[in-house]
Chain length 382, copies 2
């Protein structure tokens, strides 16, 4: 007879975040049941118990959530009205719907952050090319045009240099349909991109990780280093801002606050994610408590773990290309590189798809990054 | 469609070692199929694919091994003749049967080590109380009487102070049956117990972990610290001995060499385990590469990982008592202790059963041990 698990958690989604959360759940003997689109999804193929269904279908979400102590998320693609219905029906969603909205709806998030006094790039809701051109008249070109909902890994984000690039974006030929809501944002000259990872419990306890500096390409995180090699006053201000946001929005679980450090030295809040986040993957090897263990502890209102850094670290995402891959051969070559840890997500390669990541520890972030990139290169990825 | 795993490994046994190997296998997208006695076994409940059967049954071992690139072990309880049959049938067993015999048969191991020039306690094969008394006549009391096969966690080991304690040991009332083979060993005054963990590949590459000092009680490891706080000449000698043994026996995968440091300053080899080992659990948090990742890499003849220590560490086993347990409540209290990682094995509590372990990292091994013990105490275990 198996003993009762220490807790039952349902996770909506079964991607790599759910896969790594399952690995952490095994340590704590937590049952993590995931909502998977297929039994080949990353978390399902790693052995997490799963229910097959869609995050857009209320009945599927209810089915996986039944009996769970807490319901949490590996993505933000659940319709907000479903979240409200579930909360009303007594399911314990963590983060709560209102907090999760800050990751679902970029316009709501911007409005909330602005009203609460947090620094954000100038923005406005737009409906048409004319609106975007009007915004550019105030703030200058280029303009960043973003879909209000559903964008991730750079999808739904367009940097527009001149009016004729707006053609087609606001009609159904954009592939997003005429009902897509948009916002326009001031283009910011970025000196560095930071991600601040922080866990928060319902009771308001927080645990802040060392700051991460990310390098993005076409909206996808290419690689990161930890701790961010930036002046301490920047790091401290970013940490204070993230903690204050966590409390303001009532975050529960992991929160990633992505920020821009502008060339003028200003820190602006870009996006929020209320779950384990790509920018936190190096915590598995480099910190006393990984973001996946921490998310589980936070949503269950258990004591938070120590976030001390054990070593400087770097992470490189393994992103699919169009080329044929010899994954096993590449893995063997990557493991030749000293001090790297490879995490594969069990996914079929496709261009632009995150297939895994490599973390390297080192005496310095530069040294770690060099080896992580070398290993990723050996795999023909990243 | 799920991509092919990077490798297929079969593991005989589905206990906590298989559970933690499964977690590591997920990182490398290796399929680890385990031979489980029940679907509630530790590794099966963690999501490893499993075949139900017995390690004593050749057909069951073949069934789980079919299609695997390598077959490996979470325990030594497979009859040696089965191992030979499988190897003859073309299955790639790692470690190979002859090497695994060194962990299965304490008498064979002692004889091999003695012949190869490694220091071992004085020993002899015995069949009767008279033999044991004769051995004591040469080497003095107490005498350690051990079952040749099948003992673990102190089972099958008896420290005999005087002749009348031998009564009943050699007849069927001992519960081991009249066919049990025995050896007698000189009782050694132990100053410290060490475990040296080393990985070896078929090609003869090795990777040595920092030495571990264990504290045993009634034959079960209670706790350990890493690195072992012993003089460097002792550590170096122990490391050289372990590497030499790994090559001599042709070990593949993880090898744990348990040694005694006697009060006279001698290092004697006690037992060998050819698999991930309880004394290596702290490598999960404290080393760049855990022993579970390393075992998989070694048996697949992949490059071995870095064994550098990131932090001083201590581990305490969570061992079942007779008392009722509130595991979830205990876990919450244990997680209050700063810098500890708890690993639960998903087992029903029974007296003497290893239910999990706690690892703490710290500035010193003493500091880490204090916190690991505190956390174990909070769980009412260890």
């Amino acid at each position: 007879m198996t003993p009762e698990p220490t807790a039952r958690v349902a996770m909506i989604g079964a991607g790599q975040l759910a896969r790594m959360t399952h690995q952490a759940a095994v340590d704590l003997d937590i049952e993590l049941r995931v909502l998977a689109g297929s039994r080949c999804d990353s978390a399902a193929s790693a052995g997490a118990p799963y229910h097959l269904g869609s995050p857009g279908n209320l009945a599927d979400i209810e089915a996986v959530s039944k009996g769970a102590d807490v319901v949490t998320f590996d993505h933000e693609l659940v319709p907000f009205t479903h979240l409200e219905r579930l909360a009303e029906a007594g399911y314990r969603l963590r983060p709560e719907p209102r907090a999760l909205l800050m990751a679902q709806d970029k316009l709501e998030a911007r409005r909330f952050l602005l009203a609460a006094g947090f620094p954000v790039p100038a923005f406005t809701a737009i409906d048409s090319a004319a609106d975007a051109i009007g915004f550019a008249g105030q703030h200058g070109w280029p303009v960043v045009v973003k879909a209000r909902n559903g964008g991730y890994d750079g999808r739904g984000v367009h940097v527009i240099d001149k009016p004729d690039q707006l053609t087609g974006l606001f009609d159904s030929s954009s592939g997003r349909g005429p009902d897509t809501a948009w916002l326009a944002e001031q283009f910011v000259d970025i000196a560095a991109e930071l991600s601040i990872l922080i866990a928060r419990t319902d009771a308001g306890n927080t645990a802040l990780y060392p700051a991460v500096q990310t390098t993005q390409h076409a909206g996808i995180c290419k690689h990161l280093v930890m701790p961010a090699p930036l002046p301490s006053h920047v790091i401290e201000q970013a940490g204070r801002t993230a903690r204050s946001i966590a409390h303001s929005i009532g975050a529960t679980g992991m929160l990633a606050v992505e920020m821009f450090l502008t060339t003028h030295g200003d820190l602006l809040v870009n996006e929020l994610a209320l779950r384990p986040h790509n920018s936190g993957h190096a915590t598995i090897e480099a910190c006393a408590t990984s973001q996946f263990h921490q998310h589980l502890r936070a949503i269950l209102d258990w004591p938070l773990g120590c976030t001390d850094l054990l070593s400087a670290a770097a992470m490189v995402n393994l992103i699919g290309t169009g080329s044929e891959l010899d994954i096993t051969g590449g893995l063997r070559r990557a493991l030749e590189v000293p001090g790297v840890a490879v995490h594969l997500y069990g996914k079929t390669p496709r261009p632009g798809r995150k297939l895994g990541h490599v973390t390297a520890l080192g005496d310095t972030t530069a040294d770690a990054l060099e080896r992580a990139r070398l290993a990723a290169g050996q795999m023909g990825l990243g």
